[in-house]
């Protein structure tokens, strides 16, 4: 008598993508994907395509012009000047956000309980102020008459004898505008740095104390290396703030050629000159610069940290 045969069959699995869990996954990412396609990828594609076209609102010609728009933009003295100004904003904003943000985060780390919550709340406030509103607030401070807060304060302290047009000064003007951006951009840096500092195990500091490390040595040898991911993120955020800077500049100085940025140039090409082709080309140039900076930061600054 032969033993009964046992049939072994492989379980039937749905094809990849048809499993209920897969469908749920697609469903969950669908809203975000649709938003990204509609608000990021599609406009990007339109901008890149339009940058190779003659695209003026005052005529119907949409012919392909190759790299002509890029050549026009890059050889335009206004755009070149805006690029230099943007570079200045970039340096000041990056250094400002990095140094002040890290300094405030280190200070906050020394506080405990209600004091830390209160201080953090106050520090975060400027982050909630939109760029245009921030520009208006600062304009009251820099107003070049006696009504300006800075002029009236310095006059009453006998620091200045007559009212000054602060924002019209060749170097100080752009510097002050950059500082208004630092004021609004630093809180995010503080939050990122504080979170990163809180994530560093305390026993690392305790062990270093046993080895006789001073607080400065602890900062340079423990905190700073372990903050590299946070530094990269904060610097990248500062770079996008500088390259995309428009509202504060527009509110504080209008279309002053010595203060406009690359982002303001895009606006002027498109909305003042009605030349969307040049506007698209300037936007693509700005996007490429931002991407290059992001890649550099990720390669040179960012490091995976494991504890």
């Amino acid at each position: 008598m032969s033993a009964p045969a046992i049939a072994v069959t492989a379980p039937t699995l749905p094809a990849p993508g048809r499993r209920p869990a897969d469908r749920l996954g697609w469903l969950l990412v669908a809203p975000a994907s649709i938003v990204i396609v509609a608000l990021v990828l599609y406009p990007t594609a339109v901008s890149v395509f339009g940058s190779f076209q003659h695209y003026s609102l005052t005529d119907q010609d949409r012919s392909f012009v190759g790299l002509q728009n890029y050549l026009t933009v890059l050889s335009d003295s206004e755009f070149q000047r805006a690029s230099v100004t943007t570079a200045l904003y970039f340096v000041v904003i990056s250094v400002g956000v990095l140094v002040i943000g890290l300094g405030m985060a280190l200070w906050l780390q020394t506080l405990r309980g209600v004091a830390r919550g209160l201080a953090l709340g106050v520090i975060i406030l400027p982050w909630a102020v939109p760029g245009t509103v921030s520009g208006l607030l600062w304009s009251f401070i820099f107003t070049p008459t006696g009504a300006g807060l800075l002029n009236s304060t310095l006059t009453s302290l006998h620091v200045i004898e007559s009212n000054q047009a602060w924002l019209n000064m060749p170097v100080l003007g752009p510097l002050l505008i950059a500082l208004t951006v630092v004021w609004g951009g630093t809180p995010l840096g503080v939050v990122i740095f504080l979170a990163a500092l809180e994530g560093i195990p305390r026993d690392l500091y305790a062990q270093s104390l046993v080895d006789g490390a001073s607080p400065a040595r602890q900062f340079w040898s423990i905190s700073l290396p372990l903050l590299r991911p946070a530094i990269a993120i904060v610097m990248l955020n500062a770079a996008t703030l500088a390259i995309g800077l428009f509202d504060q500049v527009y509110v504080l100085s209008g279309i002053d050629p010595s203060k406009i940025t690359i982002a303001a140039s895009m606006y002027l090409y498109a909305f003042r000159d009605f030349n969307f082709g040049l506007g698209f080309a300037a936007a693509v140039v700005a996007a490429l610069i931002t991407t290059a900076i992001a890649v550099f930061y990720l390669k040179a600054v960012y490091r995976e940290v494991e504890f």
């Binding site: 609102l57 070049p144 008459t145 209008g254 009605f274």
Partner: protein
């Protein structure tokens, strides 16, 4: 094959009929519409307005329009600069941002060339257009594309009370006299900065310079858009005048960063004695702001802007108009709103309600008998024959870029960063370059 398989044929047919009807129907309107009539032929329609705050009439006044026409009005009032961008964004994407929009004189050529403005010739009566002062600034390719509702030109406002305190009995008529008088006002301690003049890099700095050149009998740009200021000699002399005034401390040093409103306030606040290039409505004693100013009770004069050798060129029109987007579906109802806005009674009521200076000549004449407005309105009426467009033939499509260059040039000259001669040479070269790029 792409087809309509699976869709009921009746649905396809109904959709096609509906789309065809929508396509061929065009803008909604009445068959018996009469241009210029303010009646109930379009009752039940609702129109939208996109206008700056000073053109957003109070609800009580708008209720009068609705009562007379049965047309409802939704007003969106935003700041002047944002209107331009909003119109551009909507029109570039094939939408009418509203049925009635603000149209500044500087936007006419760009909006006209883009085909965004509905011709008004068949929507308004020829008499309405003729009655509106400065309507010729809103003609593009021979068609009326906007109707001015706010009379804006430039004269000089002089505070004669302050002049007399400094021993000056007459207002100045030449640039040299302006400088002399201002020095006397400053020396007498009547005014630290007697001349109110904006010098920030904005359109408000460019227009006073156009006015100075016009007052001296010249043009800034000729009919072909060429830099006339470089060949008539007035570019250099007018810029030198500004430099002299600024260098002598006769203009507030902070003027390089002041807005037009802040410069207005220097005059209204009594710190300046002469506002060289002033909007006639700057002093509106029907307005609460002026009533509360420091110059109430002062003797004021509104005179032609001084020229190099007296005013020989009249004044410039800087008006604002209402226009109808070509894509508006309610063009007739929108035109009826324009007709109502231009009605003398509406304009008088709006002006007395802190609104703009009327453009209808009958409204101005009526206001000139009003005790509160008599002096100003009589001056305004005297100006009317000399009001001409800033640029003969209208602003070129590249005007706004040119204007920004002008403002930057004026500021650089005022600060002494460049001489008037070099500034004019550079500006002329830049103007030609901008024009060549645009063409």
């Amino acid at each position: 094959m792409i087809g309509f398989s699976g869709v009921h044929p009746r649905v396809v047919a109904l959709t096609a009929v509906a789309l065809s009807a929508a396509f061929f129907a065009g803008p909604a309107g009445a068959a018996d519409y009469t241009p210029g009539a303010i009646d109930k032929s379009l009752a039940g329609t609702t129109i939208t307005l996109l206008v700056p705050p000073w053109a957003a009439y109070k609800q009580a006044l708008l209720d009068d329009f609705t009562a007379r026409t049965g047309i409802s009005v939704n007003v969106e009032s935003i700041d002047f600069d944002s209107i331009h961008d909003k119109v551009v964004t909507a029109a570039a994407s094939g939408q009418a941002v509203a049925d009635v929009i603000e149209l500044d004189w500087t936007w006419v050529s760009q909006f006209g060339a883009a085909g965004w403005l509905a011709p008004l010739d068949k929507l308004l009566s020829s008499q309405e257009v003729a009655d509106a002062v400065g309507a010729n600034s809103f003609v593009f390719n021979g068609q009326q594309v906007g109707l001015p509702y706010s009379l804006d030109f430039r004269g000089s406002l002089v505070n004669m009370t302050k002049f007399k305190q400094a021993g000056l009995s007459d207002p100045p008529s030449t640039w040299a006299q302006v400088l002399d008088d201002a020095k006397k006002l400053k020396a007498a301690g009547v005014s630290e900065y007697p001349i109110a003049l904006p010098l920030s890099i904005t359109e408000n700095t460019s227009t006073p310079w156009y006015m100075l050149v016009r007052a001296a009998g010249g043009e800034v740009l000729d009919e072909k858009g060429q830099p006339a200021f470089a060949t008539n000699g007035l570019g250099v002399s007018s810029l030198q005048f500004i430099r002299d005034a600024y260098a002598a401390g006769l203009i507030d040093p902070g003027a390089i960063g002041l807005t037009q409103e802040q410069v207005d306030n220097e005059f209204l606040g009594g710190s300046a004695a002469i506002m060289l290039s002033a909007y006639p409505g700057t002093v509106n004693f029907a307005d609460a702001g002026t009533k509360g100013s420091n110059i109430v009770g002062n003797e004021l004069a509104f005179i032609h802007v001084p020229g190099e050798k007296n005013n020989t060129g009249g004044t410039i029109a800087l008006e604002e108009a209402l226009a109808i987007p070509a894509l508006s579906k309610n063009q007739q109802a929108a035109a009826m709103y324009l007709s109502w806005t231009l009605d003398p009674n509406t304009q008088i009521a709006a002006y007395k309600d802190s609104g703009p200076l009327p453009t209808n000549q009958n409204a101005l004449k009526a206001l000139s008998t009003d005790p509160d407005n008599k002096v100003l309105m009589q001056s305004v009426l005297n100006f009317i024959p000399s009001i001409e467009p800033v640029i003969p033939g209208g602003p070129p499509t590249w005007y706004t870029k040119f204007s920004a260059e002008v403002a930057a040039t004026i500021q650089a000259v005022a600060l002494g960063q460049v001489t008037a001669e070099k500034a004019v040479d550079d500006l002329a070269a830049k103007t030609k370059q901008i024009a060549a790029q645009a063409n």
